[in-house]
């Protein structure tokens, strides 16, 4: 029953068929009734109906002031504990449209300063985290009370909620996978055994991908006490879980797993008798039996090589050097000269990623083996401590200048939010100027693609120098556009380091 109910029957079926009571009269105040009666006239007719409706429409418009709201109002955001970062407009641009690396740098700087994002940026920051899972933790760290309150209101922002909750007990049962893994890692730091027991209790009920991800969290505070659980996981239904367990066991040289692997391999490695030297030889068994895991269909390795690859990727790298008394670089050269080069190189590369050894990383970077996948060199570099990585690049830029290979390595080899050291940045800038002088930007396609990422990598003190990159005779709009973008990134990054001497 609304104010209109008295008019609707006649309006819907037509006044000729249904006039109803005339003049129409609804549950209206007396003076409205009087006006409507006067407007409708004494006899039923269509225009009279419209006139009565007009009275009602105007009265309703004049009387409107919203509907009653009886529900409880939602709570407002809590008080902030951190100061807000200054809303620098270039940073606002960065947060919305900048490259992901520099966005990560921005978030890290805000967190390092003990600040939170200004309220106006919160929707953009939450959208950023929605699109890039890698940015979620850094975004969540600088949301402040307002941001957490805001994120809780939207399903697609809810990932950001609860990461600030200090209580592991709360997040372990209710958190997302990321949050649970994070909670488990934190508990490992405090009480490794308790964390292991909690994981062991939860494992049987989890789906395979969660089993694998949570098991990997044992890497924090790994010790021989974890061996039993990891041995058990080696028999898991899921290949990912078995893989995660094996990767962790590689870090435990005294484990039965490593012992078995060495026992399998050691008899196959022998020294030949020769005139002057006693070179090492490796020979997989002639009959390898049924393969586990089975050899994939398009696998270039043969059955025996596959067997060797699988056996070798369960042995820690340190064993090879100890057993043969050869340096990693010598071992790489030895394998390359032998019959089983690809199997060994691939196995070593896999082990390197599972259980990195700095000496092997350096050896791999300097003497990259042919069959081990070229694209991984930057990832291997990333395993080195930043100082050693930079030493390698410093060496490269001194000998070859700003080469294409170096450009390709820098971006992946310097994981955000880190940036390069001042001395390397200065060397790179000098080499960049040389390369620009040798070849105009319009012809140097590789540099054009690499210039913007480079602007995101250099040390903040070198950024002002990027404003004066020579353009030479190149007046093409695309070159101008690129230099603009470089300047913009440089200017935006410079605002992150206001006290850096230039």
């Amino acid at each position: 029953m609304t104010a209109w109910s008295a008019l609707m029957p006649a309006a819907l079926v037509g006044i000729d068929r249904h006039a109803g009571a005339w003049p129409p009269r609804g549950p209206w105040p007396e003076d409205v009734v009087a006006l409507a009666t006067q407007a409708a006239g004494p006899t039923p007719h269509a225009t009279g109906l419209l006139r009565a409706a007009a009275v009602l429409a105007v009265v309703q418009q004049a009387a409107a002031f919203g509907r009653p709201f009886v529900a409880t109002l939602p709570p407002h955001a809590g008080d902030e504990t951190l100061p807000a970062a200054a809303p620098e407009p270039l940073q606002a641009w960065l947060l919305r449209e900048g490259p992901v690396r520099t966005q990560q740098e921005l978030l890290a700087v805000v967190a390092r300063n003990g600040q939170r994002l200004p309220a106006a940026w919160l929707p953009a920051a939450l959208e950023l985290g929605r699109r890039h899972a890698a940015l979620r933790a850094p975004v969540a760290a600088v949301l402040g009370a307002r941001g957490a309150w805001l994120a809780a209101q939207r399903d697609d922002w809810r990932w950001a909620v609860g990461t600030d909750a200090p209580d592991l007990e709360q997040r372990w049962p209710d958190g997302t996978l990321e949050q649970r893994a994070d909670a488990l890692r934190r508990l490992r730091e405090l009480a490794p055994a308790a964390a292991r027991e909690r994981l062991a209790a939860a494992l049987p009920e989890l789906p395979a991908n969660e089993r694998a991800d949570l098991l990997a969290a044992l890497a924090v505070g790994l010790s021989g006490d974890d061996e039993a659980l990891l041995e058990q996981a080696l028999a898991d239904r899921s290949r990912d879980v078995r893989q995660a367990a094996a990767a962790l066991l590689l870090h435990l040289p005294a484990s039965a797993f490593v012992g078995r692997a060495i026992a399998r391999l050691q008899p196959l490695l022998s020294q030949e008798r020769a005139l002057l030297s006693r070179p090492w030889v490796i020979e997989p068994p002639a009959d390898v039996g049924p393969l586990d895991p089975p050899r994939p269909k398009h696998e270039p390795l043969g059955d025996r090589a596959w067997w060797l690859y699988q056996a070798a990727r369960q042995v820690p790298l340190a064993w090879w050097a100890r057993h043969t008394a050869l340096q990693p670089a010598e071992l790489l050269a030895w394998a390359a000269a032998g019959d089983w080069a690809e199997a060994l190189h691939r196995a070593w590369r896999d082990v390197l990623f599972m259980a990195p050894e700095p000496a092997w990383c350096s050896a791999f970077v300097r003497h990259w083996p042919a069959g081990a996948g070229r694209d991984d060199s930057a990832r291997v570099l990333a395993l080195l401590p930043l100082a050693e990585r930079e030493a390698h690049w410093q060496h490269a830029v001194a000998s070859e200048g700003l080469s294409d290979a170096l450009l390709a390595q820098l971006d992946a080899g310097c994981p955000p939010p880190q940036h390069l050291s001042l001395s390397l940045s200065q060397a790179l800038h000098a080499a960049l100027l040389q390369r620009l002088a040798a070849r105009p930007l319009s012809q140097d396609w590789l540099l054009r693609d690499a210039l913007l990422p480079l602007a995101g990598l250099l040390h903040p003190a070198v950024l002002p120098a990027l404003h004066a990159l020579p353009r030479g005779d190149d007046h093409s709009p695309s070159a101008g556009e690129l230099l603009h973008s470089v300047q913009r990134i440089a200017a935006a990054r410079a605002t992150l380091y206001p006290r850096t001497p230039s």
Binding site: R17, A54, A57, A64, R67, A77, P89, P123, H467, A491
Partner: protein, 435 residues
Amino acid sequence: MLTNEAVLALAPDAASAKAARGLLAPAQWPLRGADDRAVWGECQGSGSKPYQTQVDLAGPAFRCTCPSRKFPCKHGLALLLMRAQDGTAFAAGPPPAWVTEWLSSRAERAQKQEARAAAGPQAPADPDAAAQREAQRWQRIEAAGEDLSRWLADLLSQGLGALNPAAVATWQTMAARLVDAQAPGLAQRLREAAACVGEAHERTLARLAMLQLACDGLARRHALPAAEQADLRTLLGWPYERADVLARGTPVSDHWCVLAVAQDEREPRLTERRVWLHGQRSGQRALLLDHAFAGKGFEQSWVPGITLDAALVFYPSAAPLRAVCDSATVRDIASLPDGCDEWQRVAERVAANPFVPLHPVIWRDAVLVHDDGWQAVAGGRALDLAIDPADAWALQARGGGRPLHLAGEWDGQRFTPLTAWAASAQPPLWQRGAS
């Protein structure tokens, strides 16, 4: 001095605001200068010659040598953004020639305009012929009103329940007849009624009833007071000339506070701008309605939260709201006017002229609530909001769930928030489209 939000609110669209944010690197601006009257700068574009960008702060009015059709362009916006950020980065010396020339040409133009206004409107070439043309137009419109009234009666005789999309399509024919009779305002209302068929019969009936009311008004036009005749003419879509309004009306001088600015794309290449003002002394509300074609800008920019000294001349109406402003000078940052008679104002305006399409409303101490849609709740009453989700989330982020003062437009069904204040004495903390 304008805040970031205020500058971004001047942007003709979101893309321009975005582009302006990307132009803030000082290195892109080899020259930047400012004095009390203007801000200027040279921006290194992708070509070899830099663009010369300048802003007359009295407007603010913009000018730039870039080829952009947007107005103001990203360079002008970026210049003001940088100034809002750090005024010290601008050289204080005397402006270069290209700035002084433009400023003096603007001043000259303003003077000429004043002189023209003082001289009064030019008499039409042939007053008799003009009067005859006008009488003919009224005749046509009155005939169309009778036609519309008969058409409405037929419709109600058959009943709205039988309406289907095919039947509603024939309404377009009636609307076209109204356009032919030079009553585009009525045609517009008929199309709006057609658009809500099927949503709710009650609303359709209400819209058709308002058309009947217009027909009745037209039939007894001569018996109406002059102000109501003027409202009728506006309703028909037969607006008064700006020069006529200026010549006939009495200017109302006041400190006008800019409550809100709404800019909407009406048709492709046609932008409508509505500036809502509140007279600090008179308590009067005013609407400045302008249109810009093909991305050309508006002569003057209006910034919510700022008070201007201006004389407005209102269009004739029984509920004066629309006005023209000849010139205005910035006074200060306003405090939001107080008072809580918002709905009384709406009621009185509706009583005087039920055809006012949009009412300026300040909805105080409102908390944003969203479930199916967005609502603003204050004093135990909720208004349904017409708001873009991105704007709503930006507003929610700024407000933090605490009560805000919202200024916006009320269309009788929904409220469109345009400006938000956290407290009346502060500059606005949010504007539609500036997120």
